[in-house]
Amino acid sequence: MALIDDRCIDEAPLRMSEATPGDYIALLKPRVMSLVVFTAVVGLVAAPGAMNPLLAMIAILSIAIGAGASGALNMWYDADIDKVMSRTAKRPVPSGRVTAGEALGFGLVLSVLSVMTLGVLVNWLSASLLAFTIFFYAVIYTMWLKRWTPQNIVIGGAAGAFPPMIGWAAATGTIGLESVILFLITFLWTPPHFWALALFKSGDYERAGIPMMPNVAGHASTRRQIFAYALLLAPVGVAPWLLGYTSLFYGLVSLGLGAGFVWYAWGVLKMSDEDKAMAPAKALFGFSLIYLFVIFAAYLGDRVVAEMMGSMAGMGA
């Protein structure tokens, strides 16, 4: 028998892909990416000094692609659990439109491309932070923490909190205290945001075998922890004003938002064990999205106005 015959016997039938560009865009988690882009823009614009606008746009694009790449790597590794959760079952890999290998290749290529582009065209500090963020999300969070500990999103939340710091590093080549505070705002916001979701989706996480806080420590403990994080988040949100980085406008907005967050978290804390509708948890989840968007928008607006006033005063002098 010819050697070529032996090699053909057990081969799987050729699979021809029906994946569209939209499936590959879905691998990048566009909704998460939009949040990353927004917070990175805030970090970049708030940083002192002027940056070439074109290089600034390339920096933001690189950060967005890097975040998307880590999303693709996450979907490659998590296809098994995505399949059993209602929220994620229609993703390209569990639904079979893209193979796990294709998602892995796509994620790796985009990771290298985004980090190298940021490094070569902007600076290597921001590129290193981006590389670390991708590694942290794909390896530390997805492969290790997510299936191992109920503190998964507490530690893993750092990955989502890095973008404003990367934006700042892209503009200045350094890491300032201001960018650390922007990091802390997202970092402390993540646990109450995801635990509110996990409370009313705990059945999903249980089926997938993910040790989310409500499944491991119980609903009552999760509600207490949500409230504790809200109490930590509120003052950190106001810190940029207290430290003199922003005007009273941001101070008042962040105070209002912080008070709102604590109020909604209080509602969750008071929620009864028998409450199946979990309206307070859903309300907190919705408000947490508004909180993050508005606090970063207020920060951005505050800094842009201060910059414009500064340059107008300079022109007048």
């Binding site: 050729l14 021809m16 892909s17 029906e18 569209t20 560009p21 070439n52 390339i58 694009l61 065209l121």
Partner: protein, 52 residues
């Protein structure tokens, strides 16, 4: 000589492949533009300042 055995794509697969090819083409074109413009933005006129 025998005809080579090939895979016949369905209409759906052909359509998907065409759309993927267009997307890859556009992405590559965007990369060319980005690197061209970024080189000019980063080095400015100094990009021409080199010994011949």
């Amino acid at each position: 000589m025998d005809k080579l055995e090939t895979v016949d794509l369905t209409e759906q697969q052909k359509k998907a492949r065409r759309r993927r090819s267009i997307a890859i083409g556009l992405a590559l074109a965007a990369l060319v533009v980005i690197f061209y413009v970024a080189t000019l933005a980063k080095f400015g006129p100094a990009v021409l300042n080199r010994p011949l």
